[in-house]
């Protein structure tokens, strides 16, 4: 069907052809059942919103996917032409959960975890959370990647992911299978040793904490930020 572009056939026979049409443009042709067609469009909208660079070098920014139907008077005809473009929500800079976490009230700033300011794709679903459980949900491997930790270390019954100048320390299992972590970092880029008092003295693990270690791979992880900790 799509001789001029690579084609993918989905589980229900829906066909997708994707072309990098010209500089800065992507053309996707999709034919098949409604649900797969709709989901394909959603994936494309999320990819375009999430995989982009921020135009604000010092700020966390929200990226929005906007869409419009081309030639509204002809929407009865197929194929339907949908235009997707992307922009940053200027008015919402430094608003939102992740941005709250970046507030530097105690010495360590969340932004230090990011080389580039993160671009947050806005308006897409994420896993449900127990009420009031704030913070950044993150996979264990992504957390290790961010702090550049080669392994999980258990130090005096505390689970620690430590890189050169940053570490995350397992605080507790908050509700059910959700584990809460806290970040510690040296803002000046100097090495953070295991002997650092912020690691040695915070959040000693109890018996329940030892059980947590066995469930750590299957658990959900929330990176939280209570300023009073520091």
């Amino acid at each position: 069907m799509f001789t001029d572009s690579p084609a993918e056939t989905l589980f229900d026979g829906t066909e997708i052809g994707i072309q990098v049409a010209e500089e800065g443009l992507l053309k996707v042709t999709c034919a098949g059942l409604f649900d797969s067609l709709s989901e394909t469009t959603e994936v494309l909208a999320w990819l375009g919103a999430a995989l982009r660079e921020s135009s604000h070098p010092e700020m966390i920014s929200h990226s929005l996917a906007r869409f419009s139907l081309a030639g509204k008077e002809k929407i009865e005809q197929e194929p339907l032409c949908l235009k997707l473009d992307f922009g940053e929500a200027e008015e919402e800079l430094l608003v939102g959960e992740l941005d709250k976490l970046t507030i530097n009230e105690g010495g360590c700033c969340w932004k230090r975890l990011f080389k580039n300011p993160p671009v947050v794709a806005k308006g897409f679903p994420i896993p449900m959370r127990p009420d009031g459980l704030a913070g950044l949900e993150i996979s264990l491997d992504a957390m290790a990647l961010l702090v550049n930790a080669p392994r999980l270390t258990v130090l005096n019954h505390r689970a620690v992911l430590k890189g050169h100048n940053a570490a995350t320390v397992l605080k507790d299992r908050s509700r059910g299978s959700v584990m809460r972590w806290h970040v510690i970092c040296n803002e000046d880029g100097s090495r953070l040793p295991f002997s650092d008092p912020r690691i040695r003295t915070s959040f000693p693990m109890n018996e329940e904490g030892r059980d947590d270690l066995e469930r750590i791979q299957d658990a959900r992880h929330i990176l939280g930020w209570p300023p009073s900790v520091w």
Partner: protein, 247 residues
């Protein structure tokens, strides 16, 4: 040794109640109760539970008579097996292999896991497409449609700017993304988020995108194909995109 807490066995305990009142208490002499193995006539459920806490005993898990403490009486109707004919089993097995069942199972799992109530962009997009493709007759789910999506997005430029050698970086755990449902935020690798949110089709769409990027590079630069094919996935030292490591 850890123990389990159970209610003590009371031989003088009243017979199970027959129905529940509006206040949660149980009354006798009427229809079948929802939970016939609990309840004292006239006693609200919350008081009943409080009573349990008062009488609670610690019983070690290695108690040989542990099963005898089970206050739930065996009920035949809960343990009866349904005998299915071979034809019934054949039909069930057929249903389990259909694409419709595959879709249904995936949709149920996604809706159980994810919070769509604040996913404004996704909901808006979905509603718009649904409104356009609504037809006066027939089942929308079974009709075939076609759409052309034109995106103002250059994935080649993005991958190049992030310092990746090959477009397959989108399939690795190193390409980190942030997603916000207007209340909470989640950080996952690109492929993890796609698998989580669109488990049936997401990865295929990303694969199609990677093929398109590779084709575009091959056309624009004949030497590019070998460069793409032989390029390695970024190592752990390579900055992840669009986020990066601590420096």
């Amino acid at each position: 040794m850890a123990g389990v807490a159970v209610k003590s066995q009371d031989p003088d305990a009243p017979e199970p109640a027959e129905s529940s009142n509006a206040d949660g208490s149980f009354a006798s002499g009427s229809s079948r109760p929802i939970a016939p193995w609990v309840g004292i006539p006239g006693v609200p459920v919350k008081d009943l539970v409080s009573h349990w806490l008062v009488d609670m005993q610690e019983v070690p898990l290695d108690n040989p008579d542990l099963d005898d403490l089970d206050a739930v009486q065996e009920r035949k109707d809960m343990d009866e097996r349904i005998d299915l004919s071979e034809m019934d089993m054949s039909r069930i097995n057929h249903v389990l292999t259909t694409t419709s069942y595959t879709w249904l199972k995936s949709a149920v799992q996604s809706r159980a896991l994810l919070d769509y109530t604040r996913a404004s962009t996704l909901i808006s997009l979905r509603r718009t497409l649904a409104s356009v493709f609504t037809r006066p007759r027939g089942n929308r789910a079974l009709q075939k449609h076609s759409v052309v999506v034109k995106m103002s997005w250059d994935p080649c430029h993005f991958i190049q700017e992030q310092g990746y050698g090959g477009s397959d970086c989108l399939l690795t755990a190193l390409t980190l993304t942030c997603t916000d449902d207007e209340t909470n935020t989640q950080l996952l690798s690109c492929i993890q988020y796609v698998r989580q949110t669109w488990p049936l089709i997401g990865e295929a769409v990303v694969s199609g995108l990677l093929e398109a990027i590779t084709s575009a590079r091959t056309i624009s630069d004949p030497k590019a194909r070998s460069r793409v094919i032989h390029s390695k996935a970024p190592t752990s030292q390579t900055p992840a995109s669009p986020l990066g490591h601590v420096y």
